[in-house]
Every structure is written in C-alpha cells, then in structure tokens.
Symmetry: D3
Subunit: 278 residues, 6 copies
C-alpha cells in the first residue's frame, strides 16, 4: 500500500514510477528554514528511505525564486537563549544538542540508500549548500545564486557545508575562497569546479533533466544502485584499502541477488529486464 506524506513544509509526489520529488515548500519565505523544518526534513528522508515505491529522489524548492534562502535568521536563536548565563552550560545543554539535531537531519539524506538529486535554482544560500552536499548529485539552473552564506551572519557553517565541500569538490583553493568570503557565485563557476555536474536553462528544464536522470537510475537494479551509494559514501571517508574491505563484506551478500541473472540475461538477449522493488 502506498505511503502518504503529510508535512507542512515538504511536498512529496511520485510523478514517475520509482521517482519521488521532494519539494521544500515555504515559498513565501524563499523556502528559508526554521529549526523545526530542518528536523522534519530528516524525517522525510527517513520515510523515503523505507518506502519501497521510491528508488530515486529529486530534491527541489517550491516557487521560482529559490531552492532555499538558507536559515530563517528571524526565527532561529543562533547564539542560544539569554536564559543560561554560564557559557559552558549554554554550550553543552543548549547549543550543541541543537546543532547535533540539525546535523543529524541533514545526514539522513546521506544515510538514505536511494540516490538523491538536488536541483538548485534561484537563491541557494547557506542551508542549500549544507543539504545539497549531503545528497548525491547536484545540478542547477543558469540563474542560480549560490553562497556559503554563514560567515555573513557571523558563524562558521556548521550543518555540514564545510565538512562535505572538501569531499565533493576537488579544488581546495576555490572551496576556501567561497567559504571565507561568503560571496555569491553562479552556475558556471559551480560547474567548472565540479560542485554541480550539469547546468540547465531554467528550473523547468532542470527538473526535466533531473527526471530523465532519475528514471534512468530507477530502471536499474535497486540492489546494484543502493549498494553503490553505500560503498561510495563509505569510500569517501576511508582509505582505498578499507573501501575494498568494506566492499568485500557487503557484496558477497548482495551478489546473491536475483537481479544479476536477470540483468545478465537481459544483456545477452538485448532485452530490458525489470527489477523488483527493494
């Protein structure tokens, strides 16, 4: 039975078989995030992770103007409440738990074994980088305005941008330039430095491009695709030797799948196999 998704600020639809589109939906505020919205986002990823109808996720922002303008600084108490007067108590019992809960919500995108494609358009500031770097594939529109914005509000990005940019992009000189300056950069620069892997004319074309990519991936063996995501994510954070060892722990189970004989047969007979849900 299909699952239902009822969230105030997230819309989840399945326009194509196996492809979920998850929309950040607070367009009146340029999809800016409150603290609650961040925590809820993790729950949406968790639900999609266990929804067998979902094989690939497209992540987008509602409206024409923004993927997200970032954290809603009017509604978030970045420096903690005034109530606690001891800096150490504020640190340990208020700010750190809040931070960990935000980080955890974003990390759910990484833990979800289904590939996630972020479609960045318009204002894509702060949280836009935090979230999209935790997803698998980033594409954008020509008009995108990207920024690691946190320095401009007096803090180091702490929901993942700094820890993930150094892994998803090759040029450290560029990463540090954009992180220290909080300057706005566009599609061309993002593509040149590998932050995104494709640029489309506008949001409509970008979503079409994402859908095409998603359908292609959704047509593959989900055992193969999800195993690939887990092994890639493990490998980024470990030595080559450890990556191989982890693969040799994972795949001897996964290789016993019925998808391999089906795929091999399809390959030899040049017919397209259909793979069961996972």
């Amino acid at each position: 039975m299909p699952q239902t998704y009822t969230y105030e600020h997230y819309t989840v639809t399945f326009p194509k078989d196996g492809v979920a589109v998850m929309e950040i939906n607070r367009p009146g505020a340029l999809n800016a995030f409150t603290g609650d919205m961040i925590v809820t986002m993790g729950r949406v990823f968790d639900q999609l992770a266990t929804d067998s109808d979902c094989r690939v996720i497209i992540l987008t922002g509602a409206g024409d103007k923004a993927f997200t303008a970032g954290l809603d600084i009017k509604q978030t108490n970045l420096g903690g409440s005034a109530a606690s007067v001891d800096p150490a108590r504020k640190m340990i019992s208020e700010l750190r738990p809040m931070l960990l809960s935000f980080q955890n919500a974003v990390t759910r995108a990484e833990k979800c074994l289904k590939p996630i494609i972020s479609v960045l358009h318009g204002y894509s500031f702060g949280m836009a980088i935090d979230i999209s770097t935790a997803t698998d594939i980033r594409i954008c529109t020509e008009d995108v305005k990207l920024s690691v914005k946190e320095v401009d509000i007096g803090l180091a990005a702490d929901v993942g941008s700094l820890s993930r940019l150094v892994k998803v992009v090759g040029s450290m000189s560029w990463v540090k330039d954009i992180c220290y300056s909080a300057r706005i950069f566009g599609a061309e620069e993002a593509l040149k430095n590998g932050l995104v892997s494709a640029v489309f004319k506008d949001k409509k074309e970008a979503l079409e491009g994402a859908m095409k990519m998603a359908e292609l991936i959704a047509s593959k063996s989900p055992v193969a695709v999800q195993s690939s995501k887990e092994i890639l994510n493990y490998s980024v954070d470990h030595s080559v030797e450890d990556g191989l060892r982890y693969t040799a722990a994972w795949n001897p189970g996964a290789l016993q799948t019925i998808d391999i004989p089906a795929a091999v047969k399809g390959s030899l007979t040049r017919t397209k196999p259909r793979f069961e849900k996972l």
Copy 2:
C-alpha cells in the same frame, strides 16, 4: 639478465630503455576478463615491480576496438555456484574469497612502485575503470567509450572503481552520476572531470604520448620517482599530518642516495645525469 614474460593474455615488451609496455591481449573478446585473467594480471604487475629493467609501465589493450569491454560475463559466475545452498556459506567461503583475489590482483598495480600509465581507447568498460584507477596516470583517445558498467549487470562495482574513483576525481556529483547510471561517457567529459589528464586523437598518438611521458619519467632518478609514488599513495589515504610523518620515515633513508649529488651536479653544470637501475 633480462626477465622473460610468458602469459597467455598479456604481452610485455620493452620498446625503450626502462619503459615496459604491458598489453591486455584477448582482442577476439574485446579484451574481456575472465576470472583467471584478473588473477594473472596481478602476477604480471608483481613481476614488473621487481624487474630492474623496468622503470615505467604503459598499460594498453590489444587491437583497435577496446582497452577492455570489462568482465566476461559468460565465463564468470558472478553470483557464485548453485552448489552451496546456505547464503552465508556461499558468502564466506566462495564469493568473498573470489572477490578478495580479484581486488588483490588489481591492487598490485598500486603496490608496484613503478609509475603506470593507462592508455584507454575504444570500449573501456567496467574492469577498465577498476584497473586504470589503480594505476597512476590515465590518458585516452578521442573515441574512448567509458562506463562504470557494473550496475548494468546488477551489482555494485567491487573490484575497486567505487573506492578509487572518489579519490582520483574531484567532483563527487559526477562520480555518482556515472556510477548510478552506468552511462557511457567520452573523452571530453573524462578530461573535464580529471579522470584522464590528456586526450589524444587515436590509439597510435596516445601510445606515442604515453611513450614520451614514460621516457621522460624513466630518465629521472628512480629513487626519487618510486619514493614519490609510495608517498603519494600513502598520502591519498591519510591525513596531511600522517603523510608528513610517513615522508619523514621514508626519506631520511632515501636521501642518502647517490642520485642526489649526481642530480645536483647535473643541475649546476647543466648536464644530464644518468641514474643507475633500482
């Protein structure tokens, strides 16, 4: 006394002083790999590693059509034999040992201290990525057809592609795109994303380019070159601090080489030194 190389599916020649050309040689099957061929490949790398006549290795595929079309799926039992009925026994005593032996064979390229240049042309699928990412330098022809093909036969690439692509290429968005989709991509895309560092018109020119590069490297101090390979490979997998510490364990022995005074003298007198075999 020069070593001899007698392998059914590998040809090894020394067209230039210090430069070995190792050819994957099963052109009738687009150089596709059987399991035995993979294991044997590790032995060829091991022999070259200890052959003092060899300073640099060029790795290529026989024929015009392919570096390699990948695993020969007709001759490899990817999911294990039907004999074992317990999934755990099949996993531990059959599939994992097979996988470890394949991984180990490919890793011999990395353990060999002599630089290896992969020349990719034509079909370069699956194993082509597994193997070439374990070598040092990748160049290709304009007509190359590259693919991380494994998802198309129902499995996550497990002989190294996933664990090494994340280290040799900067853009994670692109790596995940090609790994999840198994789509075929060409020279331009490989160059733009840094998977290869040069593109040549055709196989002939690519081999000439590789040879030029190989001769240049072979003319340098082998102590310096091989120490560089070991330190680079260690550094990719460790923190900067650990990389420096490892260098400080290795180089105080290597710096006592007779090559340094020879090289310094050559540099000051603008004459080209000749370095002894290693």
Copy 3:
C-alpha cells in the same frame, strides 16, 4: 601596540586594515630558500597568527622573477653531512630532525587561523608548491612557471607537496603526472586542475586581486572566518562524521560571539557591521 617584524628574508607590511602582506625577500637568489630561511618562515607565520592586527595574510615573493625558485641547493646539504658514516645514525639524528623542522615550519601556515592567500608569479618551483599548498587560497599570474621540481634533484618532495597536493587538487592523474615528471606547467593548467582558483595578468594585478579578496575577508567576522579555517582543515583530513562532530565541539563556544547579533542586525537593517579584533 602594533607588533614589529624584523626578519632578514621576510618583509611584513600592513597596507590595509587587517591585511598583512608577507614577502619572501631574497630576490637576488630568485627567493630561493636556505634551511634557515625555511625555519624562520614558520616563526613569521606564528607571529602573524597571534597579531590581532592581522586578519588575512597575502604571501608573495619579492621582485619580478619568482615567487621562489625553490630550495637553494648550493646551501643545503640534502643528503646529510659526510661526518656520520652509519646510514642509520645519519637517518635518525641528522636527516629526519632536519626534515621535521622544515615540515613544521611550513605547517605553521596551516595552523595559523588567519586565511593566507598565496600569489604565485614567475618561477614557482619546489618549495613554492610545498608552501602554497599549506596556505588556503592560491592565485597566480599568467607568466607563472610552476613545477614540483624535487624529482629533478633526485628526491621525493618531502616538505609537504606530495601530502598536500592530493588533498587540494581533484585529479590524481594530473598530480602524479606533474610529480613524477617535474615538468614545468603554466597558469592555464593550474587553473583547469584547480591548483589555483584565479589567474591574473601580472604580479601587480594579482596582488591587487589578492588585496581585494583579502579586504573582503577581513571585513567579515574574524570569529566566523577563523572558525571556518580550522573546521575546513580538520575536515579535509577526517571523515564527514568526524568533521561534523568536531564542528559540534567547536561551534557551541564560537556561536556565543557578539558578532552574530551584530551580523544579523546588519543583515536585517542592511548596514555593514564592524567586527572587533580577535
């Protein structure tokens, strides 16, 4: 009270508020480094690290010809003194301590929490790569001549180039090509592979570009900028999970800064806040 900087081969000036320009100053020898100069360089970085007038550092080489031609091989005894006859004693008590002291001096650039922008021009060989890869941002002139030169004098680069290039650049194929061959490459190649993030016409324009970038960064909250540097440097060397955990240890203290309310207020009122020294 402003600090004074008195070093034979380093000039430190503060042409703009918060921006230090540190010049390697031995132009008669193409700014080549003696062993003493390397060790002293670490002390300059340490002094700048604790100088509250300094928020950003621009690192450049005196004169028109070179950032630095590298190690002064006439004045450095690379292979150790002839005095010690036991290779093990030479290794442990002479070469390793020398190497560690050189590495430590370069690493001071990384440990200094203020962002450092390297402006590479003319000859930028050997030590130029060692040092600039330990800084945050690299830009260069069109005429720059870059080379990981160490192989040409018979050794593996051991003051950091090998351990840091694999972290700051995405394409391993290119890194190994330049490290094994010691070949000279130019601005375009450096930009394409992400070693530098911008190219300027000549040294004058590059310094102006660096200054503009430095002033922008210096105008931001130093708490935010310096926290970002520390978290980025930690993250490059650790898993994403560890990066997040470290951020969650660091930021709950840093988020209590008075800069955040000032920055938020500035952002909401569209006025530019001024941040206190750190």
Copy 4:
C-alpha cells in the same frame, strides 16, 4: 518540572539527588530483550540525556536472577522473514535496517553525556555485554554469569559487543577466547581482565556500591564530568594527536564555566561547592 518516565519494560527512579536508576524490567523472562525493547531502550537513554535532574545513571535488571538473559530468541526473527526470497533484498531492506536500529539504540548510552554505571548480576548474557560495554563503568556481583552468547545461536554478536570489547578490555587473547567459545565466565575473570572494575557480594551491595560511586560523581561539576565523558569517548576511537585537538576545540568553551571559580574557591577554602544543574 521533573520529567516522567513511562515505559513498559523500563523503570526509572531518582532515589538520590542527581542519580537515576534505570531498571530493565521484564523479570518474568529474565529481562530478555525483544526487538521493540531494544529500540525503546535508546529512547530512555535519550530522555535521561536531556533531563537536567539526571547527572549519573545506574543501569540494572529487575529481579534476583538476571541483568538480562539476552535476546528473546522466541520473539525475534534473527534471520529475517521468510517473505523475501532474494537474499540481497532481505539483506538490504530487512536485516540491515533492523540491525542498524538495534545498534543505534545501544549507542544512545554512549552518546548520552551522563556517566552510566552498569550493575551486572545473575545471568548477563549476550545483550548484557552489548549494552554494558556501551556504558561507562561496569561492576558486578560475585554470582554473575557472563557470556558473549551470540555464537551459541549461530551468529557473530552484532549489536556492539565485538566492536566495543576490543576497546574496553586490554587482553585480546581473552576477548577472543570468550567470543569464539561463548563460554560462561564469572566475576573473578571479569575483574582480572578489566571488563568490570569492582565486584560486590550480591545485588544489594552492588547497587549500594554503584549508588556511592554515583553520588560522588553527581557531586562534581557536571560541566567537568560530561566534558570528560565526551573527550574520553572521542579519544578511544582516535589518535592521541586527534584526541588533543578535539579537547582543544571543546574545552576553551567549557573552561568559561562558573564551576571553575566555584571549585577553585572550594578547594582553597576546603569547603564543598554545590554545582548548578546542566
């Protein structure tokens, strides 16, 4: 306002100021765990973690016979449901998620910054080791019967015992002996090998001993105690150098606590300070 704890199989009481006693409460089944009980346990730890009335936790099992007899094998489907016929699908979508949720529940004990003292008595099999090795301090009764029991039901312990025993106990020879043989061992052996740090005559005395220890710890600065737990847990899993670096990220915030002047004053005046809740 004090929190309430309403769980079917866990009783939480606060017999002394700051000291929570958490009891595994299913004595009719020797406190054996169903899958639901494991997941719920994580929620109890999470609630205690954020309950400012709680400074130290004592973990015990209800009744005289057992801390816990381990997993309730009649109510847990260890090998997964028969429904899924593809070994790979069963692995990825059923067994791994179940395993991760169990592991996560146990890890909540480690993530909770309040020290946890496990009091082991009677049957303490399987899950007893998984859970207690995730807590901080282990004490036991003279009659305790300990066993890493999992091998006896055909599996490798996978909820933490194997990964944590190698960290909390010094002798690997002994760890492997008890893990491979699943043999039952007693208090003396546990004490000799450092698995527990104290042995008491019976459950009553052990709980009194735990209470004394807990009250002592609860009387200290919670900033100091909780910072110590976090730094110790980080340090076990990282190099000394990383441990120091993490400490230097954490403590500069925590050192600004009002507890230090209070403690120092208490120390100098030989009066006992009282520390605020955290």
Copy 5:
C-alpha cells in the same frame, strides 16, 4: 577429498575433527626461522584458510625446548647484501621487499578466518612474539621464556610485534619495558599483563588445554565463529562507529545462514546441533 600438507619445516595434522595442529618443525635449531621458512609459513596459513576440514588451528613448536628461538641470524642477512652500495637502492629494492614479504607471511594468520591458538613453550623469542600476536589466542607453559628479542640484535622488531603488542595487551608501560629492554620474562608476567590468557604446567598439558578449547570452538557454527574473527579484527583497528557499520555490512548476509535456525532449535530443545562445514 582431504588436502595434503607437505612442507619441510611445518607438520600439519588433524588429531580431532575440525582441529588442525600446525607444528613449526626445525627442532635441531630450536625452531629458528630462516627467511624461506617465514615466507612458507604464510602459505601454510593460506592452505588451512581454504581447507574446509579445518575449523580451528593450534600452532605449536616441535620438541621440548622451544616454540621458536626466533630468527636464525646466521642464515639471514638482516642488513642486506654488501652488493648494493647506494643506501637508498638497498632500502627500496632489497630490504623493504624482504620486510614486506615477511610481514605478509605473518599477517596471513590474521587474514585466515579460522581461529588460531598459539601454544608457547620453552624459548619463545622474537618471531615467537611476531607470530603469536598475529594469532587469536595465546596460552603458554610455566617454563616459557618470552622475549621481544630484536633490540638485542640491533634492530626494532619489524615483522609485527611492535604494531600488534600495542593492540593485544592493555598496559603500554609494560609493553615498552619489554620492547626496549629485550629482557626475558615468564608465564606469570605474561598472564598478569594479558599477553596470554592461560598458563599450563607443561607442553603436554598446554596442548591438551588448547585441544579442549579448539574442540569447543570447532563445535560451534563456523559461520558465527569466522564472522566473529573478521569483525573483531576489523574492530581493533577502527572506531566503534566504524566497527558497527562494518558489522552491519557483514551480518545481514551471514544472518541468513541455516545455522541460526539449527542453533536456536538446539537451544530451545537442549540438543546439540551439528553444523556443516564452511
């Protein structure tokens, strides 16, 4: 069909079902190792690893006098041949490959998934520590004479003792004492510090003790036992978090074993199950 073991210096017998006894057999030289013997030892471990008749291995030394007196220094050229005059060439092409081949042979004991019990008696110097610390369980006789002997012949132990002692023993103070002094210590000290987990009167009783332990382990599910060895060995070298993640990659395959229902049934019916070969 049972395998045969024909090695000059190793005897392999199967006195009990599933239990192999591997004897180092050069009693005329106190079982001292030549270089060839070390390399061969790795092959014996590899053969046992794939011999399905073998579930547990007991490692012992022939004769009454010694497990092994260590390296045969008369027959091993520790410092390399005189032929090579360049210290760097001797280092890279002669000493390091020799060292790696010795290390690899010893590591085969660790890679073999079957538990190995070392029975140490009489002279157990140098290589005795290198090898036995790579095995799982160490027991000894009352008369054992143990020594990390390498310092006495002018070198740091390099075949594994130093890297493994710090993992298998808890007290670093004691490890450094025995490593720096090369002093001979006995059974009591080895037991107290956890290097061995049991002491027996003499070799006969120790072998009987080992046999009893081996038979017990051999009677358990080999899926459970071998999975435990792999997960323990991984966990020693990784963080708890990584250990859990690796377990969650391995076990979802292994949990599908037919041994679990058999074991559970045996447990519930109090009958002893018999587990198939692996």
Copy 6:
C-alpha cells in the same frame, strides 16, 4: 662537548653513562606547575632529545612529598582573563592557544625518541598523570597518591590525561571510574590496572629500580631502541596494517646500521658489544 642544562625548575644530571635524570624542582610547592613551568618542560625534553649523551631519561620530582601536586591553581588563570568579554574571542584567542601550548609541551616527551621512565611518588595529581602518560614507562612507590584531579577543579583534564589513559591502560571501566570521580588511588590499583608496571618500597628504591632499567636500555643499540619507540608510538594510534607499513618505511633505512653486525657478532661470541652514540 657536554651540554649544560640551566632551568629554574628543572634539574638535569647524568649520574650514569647515557642516563639523564630530569627532576621537577619546585619542592616548596609540592612541585606544582605554573603555566611557564609547563612550557619550559617541553624545552627540556627537546634539549634532551638532541643531546647525544642522553640515551634514556628518568623523570622524577624533587623532595619526599610529591612527584607533582598538579597545576598551581593560584597562579594559573584557568578560565581566562576577565578582559575579554566575548566568549568566542576568549575561546579562540586566549584559552585555545594556552591549551595548545600546554599540550605541545607535554607531547615533547612523546616526540623525544629516547625512552622516558616516570618515577611517581607521593602526591601525583593532575599534571602527574598528564605528563607520565606521555612518557614510556611508569613505576611508582608504595606510598604514591594518584589522582586524575581535574574534575575536582571544575574541568575535564585537557593536557593529555584523557586522550592518553585510554591508550596506555586496558580497562576502560577503571579509567572512567578514576576520571569521573577524581578519587585518589594507590600503587596496588595502579599496578593491577597496568598504569604502572612496577611498584617499589620508597622513592630511593624506585629511583634505583629506574636506574637499573635505564642502564640496561642504555646498553642496547640506540638505533634499535629509538626506532622501537617511534614505531610503538605510531602503532598505538594506527591500524595494524598501517603500523606494518610505517615499519617498512622506517626500518629499511635503520637496518643498514653498523649496530646489527656488532650485535650479531656479540651474540654469537657471547661478548657484550658497545654501541656508538646516536
């Protein structure tokens, strides 16, 4: 020419050939440490590290009453000066640099390649644990009063105790007990848990015991001993595989020492070789 050691609070003598005794010398204050004293201690270790007359170091405290009573809390501003009012600025520019400088001073004991034996007597609180866990071997007197005292003054130990105790001692349960409670424990408990490896009647006998141990170590090849220290310290913080790889980088240089033929000859002729200074 022998070096001279002139420090206000450290006395360095050479009572035996190759053995330095370094005494913490502020007996009027129970050898309590001011901040300056900590920083200076690092310089003493650095001087001894490069003093070829020194092969082994014995570290002790002046007077009968204490190794050290710990930090002199009257003279150290643990929470930072009142001057800085921004918690983030106090954290980044005052407390963290102070902490790093203290940590670095203690770490110099670890970086010094000469073995250091700590002789703990009387009050051995706080810094006593920080420092002695950074040395190699710990012995104590029967009257020693040990305590990880920091929690009692409101902070987590941050100069190394927490990060090193988890490495030098096997029982985590005990480590957490002493760290959370700050309770005083004695020689027996320290010995049982492996924190010290020997206990002597009083300071006189402990120093004699240390001297005997030091002379034994000083009589060995310093190449072998110092290589062992470096490899052990590396191995504690890395995987076994990395430990072996590091050894294989270090030893091929060190094995070329003249000490090996001297030691082998001595061993075969049963004469005691004399090894040159390093």
